[in-house]
């Protein structure tokens, strides 16, 4: 009988601060909706019942989501860089594993939004010649991300050819 195999998780977890970052970012985007609904309910008396109902629905869905999704995502999101490949796992309900060999990497960048900066986090984007989109490692400590980019850039610059 042939050996059963499965994908092992990538070795590194993302920074634990990522959980709070995801919670904050979701709380902000959902909070805006909730506040708009609340203000409208306060101002428009005839529609108050329906607006409050909508607000209730938003809160009932958003509050568990804001708490559960980041914790779940933190258990899923993992990354690993070996000498030969970049390997990531992302998502929460829908999950995605991505593998790109070092020899096919074209560019490596870091990006930091204002909120990520507040949590001292960075995301690393690894681009290959495929039009199907880059590999992103989100929620890394920014110093770690800078080191990682430096290492990846060194390796990829040593590559010959156009990585197609």
């Amino acid at each position: 009988m042939e050996q059963q195999v499965r994908l092992r998780p990538p070795t590194n977890k993302v920074d634990p601060r990522a959980v709070r970052y995801w919670m904050t970012s979701e709380a902000l985007s959902n909070g805006v909706v909730a506040i708009v609904l609340a203000v409208l309910a306060f101002l428009i008396e005839p529609a108050r019942f329906w607006l409050l109902l909508a607000l209730g629905v938003v809160l009932v869905i958003a509050i568990p989501y804001i708490i559960v999704m980041p914790l779940w995502r933190y258990r899923v999101h993992r990354w690993e860089v070996t000498d030969d490949a970049v390997y990531t796992r992302t998502g929460w309900l829908w999950q995605e594993w991505r593998i790109a060999p070092m020899s096919r990497i074209q560019t490596v960048d870091t990006a930091r939004g204002p909120l990520e900066q507040a949590f001292r986090l960075s995301s690393v984007t690894v681009t290959t010649a495929s039009a199907a989109g880059p590999i992103k490692i989100k929620g890394l400590d920014h110093e770690l991300a800078a080191d990682l980019v430096e290492r990846l850039t060194e390796v990829t610059q040593a590559n010959k050819g156009d990585a197609t």
């Binding site: 499965r6 994908l7 070996t82 290959t128 010649a129 495929s130 990585a163 197609t164």
Partner: protein
């Protein structure tokens, strides 16, 4: 005229004539409906006509001047190492492409350019990026010069590594035109025709007249009959349109091999001559649309790098190298283009039953949603909707089930010596044979439902076309083995053996040939 330095050449001067005629033609086309639109009964037509003509003359003169200056200040040259293009009027531009990186030399000519013996040459490096080093365009040069440039730039001394049949791979067989109307273009063109009539009649302020005419023509018909008649007319227009489109696109179609590169020429009014360097080829895709497949035909697309960006002015898809043709022809062309029969000769493995169950669930869900909505509305409002709901359920359920079974039957994957093959599709069935060395990574996705059913979707990422080719709903263990075998070594370090979990959370990491467990460890808390 400026004197040219050594080796520098100019574009063709007749470009000015072509430009003026094009601009004047477009303006006249725009002016006529406007004139008719603004004209009320009793207005004199002459002054308006004179204004229009004067406008056309002035704008054409400006276009002539601009194009003359562009012509006079644009020069190009081909040296041993590079192709260079210079433009120096008002702003200075210089583009240069190293000759060794040239992958495509595409020639196109619209009807006017053809009358004047001109062609546009687009020289590309086959890179996905749009940065300035990736391509340059000579618009236009003499047709003979264009042909000569193509031959010069794509000629390679190195012998092609794959065994290749030289000469002609395929040429147009007019019997293929019967497949043209059985495609999505027919309904699209039919609908577009109605849209165009409404739009044009609005320009002419004549929409009311169009409606009156329709009512007059179909006076005796009921509302249902009228709709039926209009659908029939739409279908007929669509069929005529798709036949016309086929003739325009595929007239004098020829697919040949020249110096190891693929060369495709085609077109009635707009002629195109497209090249594809063998080095850029990553695979072929056999596309069998539903109607075309029932007639035993298939289309062949190439999977090649540098294809994802459509050129701005060529609306036709350059990746199709054979229009829908009898399967035997498609099989032969796919084999010769790829240099291997992988796309049609590989035996494909069917996917697990769970994949069929998923498709059946999707199909039934797609039926249940509209039926459910109608039923609820019917229960609340009127029994007519209830009847509609059960009729819809009776009619759509078998269709959904058939499509689901069909989608499941179309799933398959397999490995050939140099290629991996994946097939999927409901309606159009797509079979891709992808060069295994052209796979530049894997993306594996799993939904909660797939995790429960033990399935996964594996995308082979590649630098060609849309970037990734999926193997849908493959068994998770088979999928990983398939990917691991297709590109040896890439996935291996990330795989771990799964063995039955023992008691006390102990797992064994391996079993020797006698079946003795030789390593035990505590199972990690996941």
């Amino acid at each position: 005229m400026t004197t040219l330095e050594e080796g520098w050449r100019q574009l063709h001067p007749r470009t000015v004539v072509v430009t003026v005629l094009t601009v004047a033609g477009i303006l006249a086309g725009v002016a006529i409906p406007i004139i008719i639109g603004v004209l009320d009964d009793g207005d004199a037509i002459l002054p308006i006509l004179l204004i229009a003509i004067a406008g056309i003359v002035v704008v054409s003169a400006v276009a002539a001047f601009v194009d003359t200056m562009r012509y006079r200040h644009t020069t190009y040259r081909v040296t041993d190492e590079r192709i260079e293009l210079r433009y120096s009027w008002v702003l200075h531009k210089r583009r240069s492409v190293p000759r060794e990186r040239v992958r495509t030399v595409d020639l196109t000519a619209n009807p006017l350019q053809r009358v004047f013996g001109l062609a546009k040459v687009k020289i590309g490096t086959g890179q996905q990026t749009r940065d300035s080093g990736s391509h340059l365009t000579l618009d236009p040069v003499d047709k003979a010069v264009a042909e000569e440039l193509r031959r010069l730039l794509l000629h390679r001394e190195a012998a092609p590594s794959v065994e290749q049949t030289p000469g002609e791979l395929a040429k147009l067989d007019w019997r293929w035109i019967r497949f043209a109307p059985i495609s999505v273009t027919t309904p699209i063109l039919g609908a577009a025709a109605f849209g165009a009539i409404m739009q044009v009649s609005e320009w002419f302020n004549a929409q009311g007249a169009v409606f009156r005419l329709v009512r007059y023509l179909f006076e005796d018909l009921s509302a249902v009959g009228l709709v039926g008649a209009l659908v029939v007319i739409g279908v007929v227009v669509g069929i005529v349109g798709s036949l016309g489109l086929f003739v325009e696109m595929w007239f004098r179609y020829r697919l040949t091999r020249e110096d190891g590169n693929l060369l495709m020429t085609r077109g009635l009014l707009n002629t195109r001559s497209l090249t594809l360097e063998q080095r850029r080829l990553r695979g072929v895709e056999l596309v069998e649309g539903l109607g075309v497949r029932m007639l035993g035909a298939a289309r062949v697309d190439v999977v090649a790098t540098g294809m994802s960006q459509k050129s701005d002015d060529d609306k036709t898809d350059p990746k199709t190298v054979l229009p829908a043709a009898p399967f035997e022809v498609a099989r032969r062309v796919a084999t010769e283009v790829l240099g291997s029969p992988a796309a049609t000769a590989t035996s494909l493995v069917a996917h697990p039953r769970a994949a069929r169950a998923r498709r059946l669930r999707w199909g039934l869900f797609a039926v249940a949603v509209p039926v459910g909505v109608l039923a609820v509305l019917g229960w609340l409002l009127t029994t007519v909707l209830l009847h509609l709901a059960w009729i819809l359920a009776v009619v759509l359920t078998p269709v959904a089930v058939l499509l689901a079974l069909e989608a499941y039957r179309n799933l398959g994957h397999g490995l050939a010596s140099d290629h991996l093959v994946t097939r999927h599709g409901v309606g159009a069935r797509r079979t891709v044979a992808l060069l295994r060395t052209g796979v530049i990574g894997w993306t594996i996705t799993r939904s909660p439902f797939q995790r429960r059913a033990g399935l996964m979707t594996i995308h082979a990422t590649t630098a060609a076309n849309k970037g990734a080719y999926p193997v849908y709903d493959i068994d998770e263990v088979d999928g990983l083995r398939f990917a691991d075998e297709a590109v040896p070594g890439l996935l291996t370090p990330f795989l771990e053996p799964v063995t039955p979990r023992g008691e006390d959370g102990l797992v064994c990491d391996g079993v020797d040939p006698e079946g003795n467990v030789f390593q035990l460890r505590q199972r990690d808390a996941l």
